[in-house]
Symmetry: C2
């Protein structure tokens, strides 16, 4: 059995991890019972496992199946055991014959907009397939606050839980069908998701996440059998949600930090995930601080006047000729333009500034209320595709929140931007944003470009790491435990900085030497 | 809190055990969350518990309830935790305020005929109430073999499982109603039952119990949450079935040995439970051997021609005047006679022998086929109540099996009857049989009467001990592990002895000095 595997962390770094996955498969040849050796079936199996593993708990559901499997397989079986309570394994499956190499798990990124499921071969650590879909909850509430509100209405929580479950089960079926597997062949799941997504997936009340003092029901839900959650896989498969730090720094961020590896490096690193909240983590192997910028959903599809998700027809890059004012753009899939996605919006703002159409305060110099990116005659909607003053103000608030949060974190630990050795950009926006535009508007800090690393889907990658390695899982728990969390929602220092950072790229241009 | 309690073991001995029950209740005053201390509700609770107890697992079902309880109770709550995987506690309940003294569990004896439930105050160790009923499975199959057969037919196992569940839930409701409790107030259950009863209760296939080489599915099922079994109590309450030694020496016997305390005594003791199987355990604190005599159900209601259960109207004692042949009898409750129960049958056989009506081979000397105990004119049924030659033969087989098994055990360890310091008679028959009659027919060994101890419902008492003490639970597991089990079903030495013991009281009268 291969027990080392090269992990691709979003194309950033390759790290060899020892394979020690959330579930293990063990092939056993048991002694057939006789009058002389008349131990019970379950006790016989448990004894053989305990010799190898220490305490093993056999759940009732498994007991019912064991006698037939043992006899049909002539006492040669492969047992799947899963991590349980500390120091204890739980029996998850018993299959006839030697199936040690057929060992499958799922790494999952539940974003509030997009859900990605990776089918992982836990025997060799490789990703066998990927499937993605919109989070079914989007239809019930575009942004997170709407969903938290809905969860508080009668039946709302159940509705939201069912929606994400339908999405997940659909993706799982797609992947298992593609690879000729049954749902029951999946024996472990690791999930990177923010606090609210985890609450809704578990069916626990998220309402206090958005009310001071912002207390989640649970940050570290531990290992839950899949059957209790409605996932259509082996019902005894352990499901692990990466732990959250707090209401606004979730398991997706912890997964991202884990994937970046910054928690093991001696140099100071900065990790930024620009999504709804703009989570920021600063630290090294000795300490970690973090906060969420309450960035607001400015970059999410549907918030801006002509905003949309990164689907075909979305304008994803924009440039404006400073002389002629002529706009050039590209769309996803080259389709006729229907709206603007997040990265397109950031480009717009940067280009409007560079072309002198807006001032550093984000105001249109000539007093107009909107800028036409694509005229009605060219658009697929038959209407002008525009960026409005309101859109610009929203985006400035987002970047202001991220700026202020970063400044606050740096100050709190007595560091400067120049102390940062590496900047990790995570999340969907991190993957597609144009770096120069993001720096131009001050959303990202103005650091030497060779210090900047795009992590890709760091949440999914972190989930894959904990799926494949119990040591990585312990590291994730340590990260969550060790991050000193600054709650910004009611923080006056943050509010002052926030107000002070509402210029493009920043009130203090010294922070942005290359933009000046 | 009282932490020592005097245990009554069927009126035999009083033992002080330290209270250390299957679940514990702990009153906590938690710090209210704030911006400065914004731990999640579940993590906050778990941290407070782990400081006291080490690792605690919080099940999903509990997570959902915790936030509301904590706030309604102003952060002062009583937490119930239950024994889980080795070294780990599971959260079972969270209640507002200090309810440490309201701590309830059930000790249960599931017999194939009768089920007894004891409501136990786990705070002081006392029995608050007892409720008994026939096992609902009796209606589906009077004897165990019929039930095992039924379990193998489509839907049969589910039917049998439902039947015992209905019985148990009925008894539980009766007890909780009586004491003004809700089912949810019950947080732990310990059960003494034979292997087949445990299989049927758990819904696992019992079919191989009665087929060579007599392999149960499970001897030690561990701790199972009540909700998985359909018990109408706190669904997270741990349910513990005392471990079996094998197919024919079950958790009821292990419970009985535990209650007798013979496993801790330096002297040699004999433990006999005359039921369907006639289980025998011989040993002391250093070693234990055991077997089941495959006694057959001769003593159970409904097997003999006029047999019935120990209900009102059952003839429970009989004497026959050797001169006149006149019969005197008593019935349970003094009701008009309807049939004969087990103890009445044993009396009959002894008296028939002593009156010279049958010979030592159990045959009617005058060649008749039956003996009229009560004539039709006096009986409640309007028919003669009789003991037939077939009834006598059945009972002789039972006593022969017990004799042979005991002889085999004694020989296997190189001991004699005279080495036995104490004889424990367990089970319902042990409670009601007339000692002299049982010795006269050779069902019990002919030992000095002061060495003989009736244990009463030893299975229920053993269940109470493990409910109240995790140390006693560990002892029960050690008893089950340490009993060297002799499988008699296919044992030629046993068969020879069985054939040789079919005289009353025994082929070798030296074994029965006081009967001679
Ligand atoms: S936000 Fe524009 S391509 Fe993703
Ligand atoms: Mg994300
Ligand atoms: Mg019994």
């Amino acid at each position: 059995m291969a027990d080392k595997v090269v992990i691709l962390t979003g194309g950033v770094s390759r790290e060899e991890i020892a394979l020690d996955p959330l579930t293990r498969k063990i092939y056993l040849e048991l002694t057939e019972p006789s009058l002389e050796d008349n131990r019970a079936d379950v006790d016989r199996l448990a004894a053989a496992l305990e010799k190898l593993l220490g305490p093993v708990v056999v759940p009732l559901a498994a007991m019912r199946r064991i006698p037939a499997v043992l006899r049909d397989a002539d006492w040669r079986v492969t047992v799947t055991v899963g991590a349980g309570a500390p120091g204890v394994w739980n029996l998850v499956d018993v299959e006839p014959g030697d199936t040690v190499k057929r060992h499958y798990g799922l790494a999952v990124d539940i974003g509030s907009t997009t859900v990605v499921v990776y089918l992982v071969n836990m025997h060799d650590g490789r990703i066998m397939g990927t499937a993605a879909d919109y989070n079914g909850q989007v239809g019930l509430g575009e942004d997170i606050l709407t969903r938290i509100y809905l969860a508080g209405t009668p039946g709302g929580l159940e509705q939201l839980q069912r929606a994400i479950l339908v999405t997940l089960n659909g993706l799982i079926r797609r992947l298992t069908d593609e690879h000729g597997l049954a749902g029951g062949n999946i024996s472990a799941v690791a999930i990177g998701a923010n606090s609210t997504m985890v609450h809704l997936f578990l069916g626990v009340d998220p309402s206090r996440i958005c009310m001071a003092p912002y207390i989640p029901v649970v940050n570290n839900p531990g290992l839950i059998p899949a059957g209790q959650l409605g996932l259509e896989i082996n019902p005894l498969a352990p499901v692990y949600c990466l732990p959250s730090v707090g209401s606004y720094v979730g398991g997706d961020v912890v997964a991202g930090v884990l994937a970046s590896g910054l928690h093991q490096q001696p140099e100071l690193s900065l990790f930024v995930d620009i999504g709804t909240n703009g989570e920021i983590i600063l630290g090294n192997r000795d300490w970690l601080v973090g906060c969420a910028g309450a960035a607001g959903p400015a970059l999410e599809g549907g918030v801006a006047e002509c905003g949309m998700r990164a689907e075909p027809g979305a304008i994803d890059s924009v440039s404006i000729d400073p002389e002629s004012g002529k706009v050039r753009y590209t769309t996803i899939g080259g389709a006729p333009p229907m709206g603007i996605c997040g990265s397109g919006l950031v480009d717009c703002l940067a280009e409007l500034l560079l072309a002198g159409i807006i001032d550093r305060a984000g105001r249109f110099k000539d007093g107009r209320r909107e800028f036409v990116v694509v005229p009605a005659s060219e658009s697929a909607t038959g209407k002008d595709i525009v960026v409005t003053q309101v859109d610009i103000n929203n985006l400035m608030r987002t970047k202001g929140a991220v700026n202020a949060a970063l400044e606050l974190l740096l100050e709190s630990v007595g560091c400067n931007l120049s102390d940062i050795s590496r900047f990790y950009a995570a999340g969907a926006f991190g993957q597609y944003l144009h770096l120069e535009s993001a720096i131009t508007i001050g959303l990202y800090p103005d650091l030497p470009r060779d210090k900047m690393v795009r992590l890709g889907n760091a949440s999914g990658e972190g989930a894959r790491l904990v799926l494949l390695s119990n040591r990585k899982r312990a590291e994730a728990e340590a990260i969550a435990r060790n991050i000193t969390y600054f709650e910004l929602n009611a923080n006056q220092v943050f509010m002052n900085k926030f107000v002070g950072s509402k210029f493009l790229p920043h009130t203090n241009l010294d922070y942005y030497p290359t933009v000046k």
